[in-house]
């Protein structure tokens, strides 16, 4: 029996209003996140995946208007007051970001920044949590934690900073961890270590992980389910096996083709012709139609709805 | 080069406040020149019968802004004062630019012992609160507008020299300078041809912000009666002579010169700010 989802996002729309224009960055997407499982949210830059994550966390700026539902434990997070949402952040839902080099406050040491999470959500004092912090740092693989926690961020490498971020995020054993391109700014070898760390932690704490990335390799390594996002729409939502073995949406197929294979003999790298549209100038009909090689006449006129295909969902007129 | 200039102007125009400030600044500069010709009276002529006359608000059409404690016409004095303040301001800019550039270039380009000595000297000068420095130097040099100009310029020269030196140090290492040297260019040519143009931008920005400040210092020296002869129709000096009579209700002797100082400083400051923003945006693009 399939588990009840921990997080249900229904028809989420996010619109940014600037002096000049309104931009609909996310236009009606649905997401399901299950305990202990990982959902990979894939897409190129500008497709709206980070905005989605920030919307769930309630971290969007004032000039953003959000509609839809974000259901977590029978509560619609979008309807919560700021103070109540703050109690959930870092506590039941945590997030880590892409740039470890700038994500830690340079004027406070590691111990202070980690102790803060405990003080906020568990009400403990600085002295009480010290052993917990040491243990946490050791778990994420930081050598000599008792000494390193007195360090300031600029004394740590990028990989170590990201480990500290993960430690902070997992400190209160959250139900959900959202990771927005956590390894993009790191070296490939460190990348593998960080992903493995996240996998381990997830297993131990049974956390639901929302992994946002543009890298299909990362998806292959950590995700059970995948949602492919393009220009504010979710184009395809399947299990990871199905995505790789039998991709339905032309965009997904195009993405898979662009992965260079060392064994193949072709000389030119594959590409998807055209560029991602700016969200203020979205093409009519299906948003991908101008770059789609399997385009039908209908595709440029009507936007395809989300349709079910043997347990998966796709937004495409081919189905 | 020309298109960059046009772009700076375009960005500047967007800032409405700065545009207004620009026009006020122009008006002041015009007044500085033609002021003496517009003035109905001699600014230093004492007329003890007409002391403390109020101005147009009490129907006085002879002396629009009233007369001061020695019967001098305030309107005329203000007009003359515009010229004085602006003249000192521009002179300060000129002196600071020339001396500051020279010292900064020498210090930066030749380096070594020369650099160390000059920088130490600059440190020492910067150890003084600026007004104090200007005060003592003006007192040392004696009375006279030119001496006041020099005294005030000495406040800014160390900072400008430092900025110039910094720029020089950066430019010195640039590949195109090395290339020039390899082609046999002499030191002087390099300094003038390469270093100077690149140094100019931060220098100009610094100088535009300087004018408003310089006018304030001029007024301060005039107010304290140091370096500027108290009888000259300088705005600050006017404030000083009117100070004691404020309590007696003769407010026009101090309000008008003060408003002029405020207006001048404000418009030049806004102009400088607007210019700096416009130039910055060019740099960012």
């Amino acid at each position: 029996m399939p588990e009840l989802p921990l997080l249900k996002v229904n028809n989420l729309k996010v619109e940014f209003t600037t002096d000049r224009s309104k931009i609909l960055a996310v236009d009606g997407i649905d997401i399901r996140l299950t305990r202990g499982k990982t959902l990979g949210l894939v897409g190129e830059s500008g497709c709206g995946k980070s905005v989605t994550a920030l919307a769930i966390m309630g971290l969007l700026p004032r000039h953003a208007s959000i509609s839809g539902e974000v259901l977590f434990k029978d509560q619609d997070l979008l309807k919560l007051k700021k103070r109540d949402m703050a109690k959930i952040r870092g506590n039941q839902i945590s997030m880590i970001f892409q740039e470890p080099m700038t994500s830690l406050n340079p004027v406070f040491n590691v111990e202070y920044q980690m102790a803060e999470v405990f003080k906020l959500h568990r009400g403990k004092s600085g002295k009480e949590v010290r052993p917990e912090i040491v243990e946490l740092l050791r778990t994420v693989g930081i050598p000599n934690p008792e000494r390193r926690m007195k360090d300031f961020p600029h004394q740590l490498s990028g990989g170590m900073r990201q480990r500290v971020m993960i430690a902070m995020a997992m400190a209160c054993e959250p139900d959900i961890l959202i990771a927005d391109e956590p390894t993009t700014a790191l070296d490939v070898t460190i990348q593998a270590q960080i992903l493995e760390l996240m996998n381990d932690l997830q297993r131990v704490h049974d956390t639901g992980l929302l992994m946002i990335t543009h890298d299909l390799g990362v998806i292959a390594q950590v995700a059970e389910n995948v949602a492919v996002m393009y220009a504010g729409h979710i184009m395809e939502h399947s299990s990871v096996h199905e995505i790789f073995s039998d991709p339905l949406h032309p965009y997904t197929r195009g993405l898979l083709k662009t992965i260079p294979r060392i064994a193949s003999k072709t000389e030119r790298l594959e590409e998807i012709k055209g560029t991602v549209p700016h969200m203020s100038k979205v093409p009519p009909g299906c948003r991908f139609h101008d770059r789609c090689i399997e385009r039908l006449a209908r595709c440029s006129q009507e936007t395809p709805p989300v349709s079910q295909v043997s347990g998966r969902t796709v937004r495409c007129w081919l189905y | 080069m020309n298109s960059e200039f046009k772009q700076v102007i375009r960005v500047y125009k967007r800032n409405k406040l700065a545009v207004v400030a620009f026009f006020i600044a122009i008006i002041l500069m015009v007044l500085a020149v033609i002021g003496p010709y517009l003035a109905p009276y001699d600014p230093v002529e004492i007329n003890l019968q007409l002391r403390f006359e109020p101005g147009f608000w009490e129907g006085n059409t002879d002396h629009l802004l009233g007369t001061d404690n020695l019967g001098r016409d305030i309107f005329s004095r203000i007009l003359y004062g515009t010229g004085i303040s602006l003249k000192v301001g521009y002179a300060v800019i000129a002196i600071t630019a020339v001396v500051g550039l020279f010292i900064g270039l020498v210090s930066g380009y030749f380096g070594g012992a020369v650099d160390i000595v000059i920088m130490r000297f600059i440190d020492i000068l910067l150890a003084f609160p600026p007004l104090l420095l200007a005060l003592v130097i003006a007192a040392t040099l004696g009375t006279g507008i030119e001496k006041a100009m020099l005294a005030i310029a000495i406040i800014y020269i160390p900072s400008l020299a430092r900025i110039v030196r910094g720029s020089v140090l950066t430019v010195k290492e640039m590949p195109y300078v090395e290339a020039s040297r390899a082609m046999g260019a002499g030191k002087f040519w390099i300094i003038v041809g390469h270093v100077l143009p690149n140094v100019l931008t931060p220098v100009i920005v610094y100088l535009t912000l300087l004018l408003g400040d310089a006018i304030l210092y001029t007024a301060a020296l005039g107010f304290l009666g140091v370096g500027i002869d108290p009888t000259t129709p300088e705005w600050g000096a006017m404030l000083s002579s009117g100070k004691d009579f404020l309590i007696l209700g003769k407010w026009w002797i101090t309000v008008f010169p003060g408003v002029m100082i405020f207006l001048a400083v404000l418009s030049f400051n806004l102009f400088g700010d607007g210019l700096r923003e416009a130039v910055d945006s060019k740099l960012r693009l």
Partner: protein, 336 residues
């Protein structure tokens, strides 16, 4: 590097500057035209009297000997005797120093406290009425001449409204037992509340007029610094951790934002010291600023030298303190 090691390092580096300052001060003062002896003796100048006076004042010795005499004494706190009043210069300075300190400190407090508060509010409520009015005020404040502002304040509050006194530190007839020389502090210690209020009323206008320009500048810098910091990634992290907005602004953001603000505050100290000279003149405030102006007028060398050197020295010392605070705020500096 620990904070105190950084302190020692800075101290040692400033000693040559201090020496240079003393030399410059000495040379400058001695180049002031006008012979103090002539001024002192007035009409009764005879050559013999002149020589005698010069001898007594040590003015007939070669310049470098005069400098050395002065400097070696100055380091011990002996700045010589005032030509005008015959009192030791150091006593003249000390007698008036508390007045200036009180004025400058209160002005600084006003400028820093309100400056930071308004600056943070403007950044937090960006593009609202609070923001616009704050920016407007700071634009005006930076351009206004302090001495004129002082006069206008007097005119408005003393002459027209009659709420506040016109000049001086205290009304006639009221006395406060002198402990620190700071009237506010002394009045509180002695428990004389009415005297305290009196002193406060005398202090408000001068302190405010002195503080205005610095206040405007601090508001501006704080606002722009806060705006920069608030867009940084680590602020987003703090919010993602669930930190309350108030703590995000006043702890996470402010400590970082203060770094450039402290620099500006350090620079403002110099302006305040200079401005005190002007303010004391406007309000007839019995501080060292007024002492200096009078001394320049009568060519009282020892007093001018003493005051200038004293002020420069104080300024250098304060700068070291500011640097220390800087290093405390931003640990990245200490580890260079």
């Amino acid at each position: 590097m620990a904070l105190y090691k950084y302190f020692i390092k800075r101290l040692v580096l400033t000693l040559p500057t201090l020496l240079g300052v003393s030399i410059i001060v000495f040379l400058l003062i001695h180049m002031i035209p006008g012979d103090p002896v002539d001024i002192m003796l007035g009409d009764r100048v005879t050559d013999a009297a002149k020589l005698a006076l010069e001898e007594r004042l040590g003015l007939n010795q070669p310049l470098h000997i005069q400098y050395w005499n002065w400097f070696s004494n100055a380091v011990r706190g002996d700045f010589g005797i005032s030509i005008r009043s015959n009192q030791p210069v150091i006593e003249e300075i000390m007698r008036r120093l508390p007045a200036t300190v009180e004025l400058t400190v209160v002005a600084l407090l006003i400028a820093v406290v309100f400056g930071i508060l308004f600056g943070v509010s403007a950044a937090r409520y960006r593009n609202t009425a609070i923001d616009y009015s704050t920016i407007g005020f700071s634009l005006l404040g930076v351009s206004i001449p302090i001495f004129w502002l002082g006069m206008m304040l007097i005119f408005f509050f003393s002459v027209i409204l009659g709420w506040l006194p016109v000049s001086g530190r205290l009304a006639m007839g009221i006395s406060i037992p002198q402990m620190t020389g700071l009237y506010l502090v002394d009045a509180l210690i002695a428990g004389k509340i009415s005297a305290f209020w009196g002193a406060l009323k005398h202090l408000i206008l001068p302190a405010f007029s002195l503080a205005t320009v610095s206040l405007a500048l601090i508001v501006r810098v704080t606002r722009s610094s806060m705006l920069d910091i608030l867009s940084e990634d680590y602020i987003r992290t703090a919010r993602a951790k669930g930190v309350r907005e108030r703590k995000v602004i006043y702890t996470h953001a402010l400590k970082n934002a203060m770094i450039p603000v402290v620099t500006v505050i350090g620079l403002q100290l110099a302006k305040l010291m200079g401005g005190a000279i002007l303010t004391e003149t406007v309000f007839s405030w019995p501080g060292i600023g007024r002492l200096l102006v009078t001394a320049i007028g009568v060519r009282d060398y020892p007093v001018v030298q003493g005051v200038v050197f004293f002020v420069a020295f104080a300024f250098i010392a304060i700068n070291i303190v500011v640097d220390l605070f800087y290093a405390y705020l931003d640990p990245r500096i200490r580890y260079d």
